[in-house]
């Protein structure tokens, strides 16, 4: 398939994932399929309690081949690493591909908000970005996913019937008309395919 044309594929650089209720299991399903030398950076916003410890990062790191860590202020975003937004801060991405943070008010009742990181990722990565909305009881992420689409990035939503809570995927599908609606089991393998085509 790929030898029929010269390399004009869109080379994706980063994946941003938004998840809420039920997100931990969904993230585990997707990330466990990705290899340790995965060629893209993965950035996750998961709604969680503001005083939570680093359990999510630790457990995902144990269960996945990629390195999973909490994003740090001014940290350079590397490929092959999964970054999780810290609790109680909004996460943003700067033009030089480093993280920055903000404690401005909640957006869609959430801090970190999926919309905030998606929008700033769309600014920086443009068409080299993949945005994914997973399970959740909220509408956060819909506007951000729209921004990713407008900037030429690829948009994916977990099919609502495979989501633990369908509200967030349903809201995203309605707002964006995403490029792909995939069952949870298929998202990871689809990302591997995109990586090898890149």
């Amino acid at each position: 398939m790929r030898n029929s044309q010269p390399v004009t594929y869109n080379t994706y650089k980063a994946i941003v994932i938004g998840a809420s209720t039920g997100g931990r299991n969904a993230l585990k399903t997707i990330l466990s399929v990705l290899p340790s030398n995965f060629a893209l950076s993965v950035i996750i916003v998961m709604h969680r309690h503001k005083d939570t410890d680093g359990y999510l990062e630790l457990s995902l790191d144990n269960e996945c081949k990629m390195c999973v860590k909490q994003a740090d202020e001014k940290e350079e975003i590397k490929t092959g690493v999964v970054y999780v937004a810290p609790p109680n801060y909004h996460l943003l991405i700067e033009d030089d591909c480093t993280f920055s943070m903000s404690v401005e008010g909640v957006v869609n009742y959430a801090r970190p908000s999926v919309d905030v990181v998606f929008e700033s990722a769309a600014d920086v990565y443009g068409q080299r970005l993949i945005g994914i909305i997973l399970t959740g009881a909220n509408k956060d992420g819909s506007q951000g996913l729209r921004k990713i689409k407008e900037a030429g990035g690829l948009t994916i939503v977990q099919s609502p019937e495979t989501a633990e809570v369908a509200d967030m995927p349903e809201a995203a599908i309605e707002a964006v008309k995403p490029d792909y609606v995939l069952s949870l089991e298929n998202i990871g393998s689809f990302l591997r395919k995109l990586e090898s085509e890149g």
């Binding site: 202020e73 991405i93 905030v116 700033s120």
Partner: protein, 278 residues
Amino acid sequence: MEITNENEEIEFDLLLQAIYQKYGYDFRNYARASLKRRIRYRLSQSNFKTISEMQHKLLYDSKFFATLLSDLTINVTEMFRDPSFFKALREVVIPELKKQPFIKVWHAGCSSGEEVYSTAILLKEEGLYRTSLIYATDADDVVLDKAKSGVFAIDRMKDYTLNYRKAGGLASFADYYTARYDNAIMDNSLKKNIVFSNHNLVTDGVFGEMDMIICRNVFIYFNRDLQDRVFRLFSESLRPGGFLCLGTKETIRFSSFSDDFENVTDHEKIYRKKNDEF
């Protein structure tokens, strides 16, 4: 799409330059992504089509600038925000401060003052308030006035009470304020040794020989260069052995001043300035 983005970058730079030259507030070395978001928000709430149109308004209408300024300065804070930090302050830093006959604390970028009153309560409970002086500074007079008034929304007190307890509070939080209608008015005795004043970390200088500087969730808005400037300012404003307290996600470790400070705790961002002879 590309042209729109390119123009927006130019307009963005020009706007920050205009704000600086006209009003003296220097946001040019702030982290961009968050600023961009807030300027876009103001644009979306206005009738202007571009940032350039908004810039024109800004130059000729100081009231409009005041609105934008309050968008650009994040003033989200709470009492005993991050209780574990205040707990560490009480357990680890206070015993050291007790060795001093007199204590000078600088709350830099204090916003509307919630954390200043938290520190005042902590010092009071530890028997140190009478011999302490707290300098509370911010670059924004509007929030500084609010801090001075010591009046906060009553509906936040439930959360603050919870924070206070988690932070190891020794009394009942309700003892520190009087409820009146929708307001909680902080006890006047807490204000006695607080000096509120305008100070801009970006453009102003050193602030005395402090025993402790608390500046939490301010550095996250600065770029590397500006962070270094302010770390230098803090290093020069602290006595040897003085404490520097930052927000949970902030660190001095990537700055040029890392070697001047040692870690005080593993989990909180509390640093101690080394003595010169070390």
